[in-house]
């Protein structure tokens, strides 16, 4: 039998699938790092159930000769940890998908011959090592072997990775990795499989991170020195990142008793001169809404990272969706301006989160960073993120005796003093207030204060991140997206390969950049691709510009789009 040649244009999609608790995430952590430092470009993403044990979770790792940043349906190599896992991804198994695993383990009732299955009995090897718990490390060894990772590098990495465990656990994991590795080398030598992919020494030194890391780095760059939040998937990863680096960067990190406390702490912190972040999701953010209005009223800056997940209510806690755009847009009662940033790439997440802090401070408004579960949990490598040019710009003033927190200025922005800095007093009030920040029911003053707050909108509109056009200027078809779909739509267009289609990606949706309508009008056909059921961004475009996009390509099953899916759905309308 000739060897199964795996990969397409130097790009291999590996999927590992197993129960929660079987260590799929450990495999992902080991392999993404190891393969990247062996010179492969990596994209890793996971889909998992909201449970700690059991069920079926999967991780996709694209291993490539060139940069890859988005998920694909295609599975070139599948490593199922049990029969249930096989069922979980059954619909994606094609004739040329190579399944690696124990034939007897995976097909107890027979039928392995219907598949392209190479027999490496992972669970049997694991029990030889010391038990089922080593299966994931055996699997890591197999993949490392298939991609010809240096044997010593694998061993060193595994030893370091399990470094905190007992001596015997470390040894057993090293053994497990080595056995998996040898099994993979054997199937290559036996001519059963050949991988069409090559390493590129250039990427060995790339950085590898996920969306949560990128938001965290951007926050620190923006001067974040305070984070109060309440755990909720998928936003918690940013809290964990900042807690991990809290000592290093002097960040006050507090797990609040609830989201209401977290948001009110955020405002108290900014009021007293800190630069605070709150990270939250779905229902957690819904609880913060009243305080979003407080921020609007007292004109205290705030930065909110809202990592979306499918709602309403608890929805699908560990899945993804772009369903909270409207929530962020209209959160808080009353009328007041805000900023909503929607990073598409990891660089975007760093730079936009940094920007959120400086702009929130400058305009004394809430700046949202809208991400989602997919974005938080996906990794890829990139040459670098240059933080050297980033500055923390503080917009606070030293007060004197005549200081008035809500001085009615020309542009609506009153210099922001903080308590204890200067000889003045700083009063803020959630009631309608006078220029001194004291409660008032003077209805003429009410009008002046509303106008003052809304005046900031004009300034915000002049300071908006423009959408990024990918493709030629003279397109006739325009795909439109925002936030986390950036790379997947971009790759889909490359696959389609037509030069009359371009892609307009929005990194800020509020205020909407004024060039928006011009871009849309230039196209014969427009299609918004977004991850929700109603086309929230398409609706927003209509509301703000009057333009009706021609097509809405929507998805709301809790999973991110894949490249094939976007290609398929765009192809139907062009």
């Amino acid at each position: 039998m000739p060897p199964a040649v795996v990969g397409k244009n130097g790009d291999i999609s590996v999927v590992l699938c197993g129960e929660a608790g079987q260590g799929i995430q450990t495999v992902e952590q080991i392999l993404t790092q190891l393969l990247k430092s062996s010179g492969y470009s990596i994209f890793g993403t996971k889909e998992y159930m909201s449970r700690v044990r059991g069920g079926s979770n999967s991780t996709q790792i694209r291993v490539s000769s060139h940069r890859v940043c988005s998920p694909v349906d295609r599975i070139d190599i599948l490593i199922p940890f049990d029969t249930k896992a096989l069922e979980h991804v059954r619909g994606r198994i094609r004739a040329d998908t190579v399944i690696i695993g124990g034939k007897k383990e995976l097909f107890p009732a027979g039928g392995a011959d219907h598949f392209n299955c190479i027999d490496i009995p992972l669970s049997e090897i694991a029990s030889q090592v010391g038990g089922a718990m080593y299966m994931n490390t055996v699997g890591s060894g197999v993949i490392a072997g298939l991609f010809s990772v240096d044997r010593q590098r694998l061993d060193d990495f595994v030893a370091a990775f399990f470094g905190d465990s007992s001596e015997s656990v470390i040894e057993k994991n090293r053994d497990a990795a080595a056995r998996g590795y040898d099994a993979a080398i054997k199937i290559i030598e036996d001519g059963r499989i050949r991988l069409d992919v090559s390493a590129n020494p250039e990427v060995e030194n790339d950085i590898l991170m996920n969306g949560a890391d990128a938001v965290g780095i951007g926050a620190i760059a923006g001067g974040c020195d305070f984070v109060a939040s309440y755990p909720m998937s998928p936003s918690t990863a940013v809290l964990v990142f900042l807690a991990f680096h809290g000592d290093e960067f002097g960040i006050v990190v507090e797990q609040a008793e609830d989201e209401i406390a977290a948001m009110n702490m955020t405002l108290g912190a900014w009021y007293a001169g800190a630069r605070a972040l709150v990270t939250t999701s779905g229902g957690g953010f819904a609880l913060m809404e009243e305080a979003v209005g407080l921020a609007g009223m007292i004109e205290t800056p705030a930065v909110i990272h809202l990592a979306q997940r499918p709602g309403p209510a608890t929805g699908l806690p560990t899945r993804t969706e772009q369903g909270d755009l409207q929530l962020a847009m209209y959160s808080g009662h009353g009328e007041f301006p805000r900023i909503i940033l929607t990073p598409g790439s990891l660089e975007d997440a760093v730079y936009l989160t940094h920007r959120a802090f400086n702009r929130a401070d400058k305009y004394q408004v809430t700046a949202f960073i809208l991400t989602d579960q997919y974005f938080m949990d996906s990794y890829y490598n990139l040459p670098s993120v240059d933080v050297s040019g980033l500055r923390t710009v503080r917009h606070i003033v030293e007060t004197d005796e005549t200081y008035q927190r809500y001085f009615l200025s020309e542009d609506g922005i009153s210099p922001r003093g903080i308590p204890g800095f200067g000889t003045g007093l700083v009063a803020v009030d959630s009631d309608e207030h006078d220029e001194n920040g004291h409660i008032t029911e003077d209805l003429d003053l009410r009008i002046a204060m509303v106008d003052k707050r809304l005046k900031k909108s004009a300034a915000l509109e002049n300071d908006t991140v423009p959408p990024e056009l990918i493709g030629k200027d003279d397109y006739s078809i325009l795909a439109v997206g925002w936030g986390s779909t950036y790379h997947v739509i971009k790759e889909a267009l490359t696959v389609i390969g037509r030069d009359d289609i371009s892609f307009l990606h929005f990194k800020q949706v509020c205020p909407l950049h004024r060039s928006t309508v011009e871009y849309l009008k230039r196209a014969r056909v427009t299609a918004v691709v977004e991850g929700n059921a109603t086309g929230q961004f398409a609706n927003l475009i209509k509301l703000r510009t009057g333009f009706d996009v021609h097509h809405r390509i929507l998805k709301y099953n809790g999973l991110q789009y894949t490249v094939e899916e976007v290609v398929g759905r765009l192809s139907k309308i062009i």
Binding site: G223, A228, G250, E257, I260, N264, A272, A276, V426, H438
Partner: protein
């Protein structure tokens, strides 16, 4: 009248004539004056309600936030700048009802702030509904058959949770109230001062006279460091204990436990991000 450092001069005060809040205002201003802290170094955070209007009537920094949310804001203000003296103030509805969760967790967290709770056993601002401390049987336009829920005993809850400083005052005694507030502010840790406050407009049951008859100061021999005795005193029926009910000076306060202040007391706004360190963090993502 001579202007004190905390007087705001001729301002319009929204309280009813005869309201117990006036006495609390005087006691608070006197306490701050005697402590000699300058108005610029103090922040009074409050929620919403009649009591929560307090900071507008004191010449100092003000964070008048949302109903029930004074404590989280005050906690963060102190954590952002530990040099400030921070007070959280509000009514019984504000602090024990809407903000009850924060009250409980602030006791656990133990920030070095003072919570002043005006307990008039009623919702004043919203015109007379029951509050968490309203007595059983208290009739209102909403509780038409009288309150059926057990009143919230904040003192007992606080002592049960091993709060740092727990005291109760009576608005009828300005000097004692002033002294209790002074002790609370001087105490390091979360200090709770509940002040019994007659509401002349909406509470015709728990009047000045009623409070006078139904409360009494702890005796001189009372030991506020004895937790079980303090708890028993707070939990038993009869007269409500006035004075400093419980003090625990052993607990470390929230700000002391925060790593940014372990070696450096500089407030956050005076610090800068170490960008070279951040560049190294980014670089650390290169290595496995």
């Amino acid at each position: 009248m001579k202007q004190g450092p905390f007087d705001r001069g001729a301002i319009d005060i929204a309280w009813c004539p005869g309201c117990g809040n006036f006495a609390i205002l005087n006691a608070l201003k006197a306490a701050l004056t005697q402590l000699g802290i300058s108005p610029e170094q103090i922040v009074i955070a409050s929620g919403i309600g009649q009591a929560a209007k307090m900071p507008h009537y004191v010449r100092t920094n003000v964070f008048n936030g949302l109903h029930g949310r004074a404590i989280p804001a005050a906690t963060a203000i102190k954590a952002a700048n530990p040099g400030l003296t921070v007070i959280a103030e509000g009514g019984d509805g504000d602090m024990y009802g809407e903000g009850g969760n924060h009250f409980i967790h602030a006791i656990r967290r133990n920030p070095d702030i003072t919570a002043i709770i005006h307990n008039n056993m009623v919702y004043g601002l919203t015109k007379g509904q029951a509050s968490p401390t309203s007595s059983l049987g208290f009739k209102t336009p909403v509780q038409v058959g009288g309150v059926t829920e057990e009143p919230f005993n904040a003192m007992a809850v606080a002592i049960a949770l091993n709060a740092s400083f727990v005291a109760r005052a009576f608005a009828g005694d300005v000097d004692q109230t002033r002294d209790i507030i002074k002790a609370a502010i001087s105490h390091r840790g979360f200090s709770i001062v509940e002040i019994l406050q007659p509401c002349v407009s909406f509470n015709k049951v728990n009047t000045f006279q009623w409070f006078k008859e139904n409360s009494g100061y702890v005796e001189d021999s009372y030991d506020p460091s004895d937790r079980s005795a303090a708890f028993n005193r707070a939990a038993e029926g009869g007269k409500m204990a006035l004075g400093i009910c419980y003090v625990n000076s052993e607990r470390s306060c929230f700000e002391e436990t925060l790593s940014p202040y372990s070696e450096d007391s500089t407030p956050l706004f005076k610090r800068d991000v170490d960008m070279a360190k951040l560049a190294r963090l980014v670089d650390s993502k290169r290595q496995a």
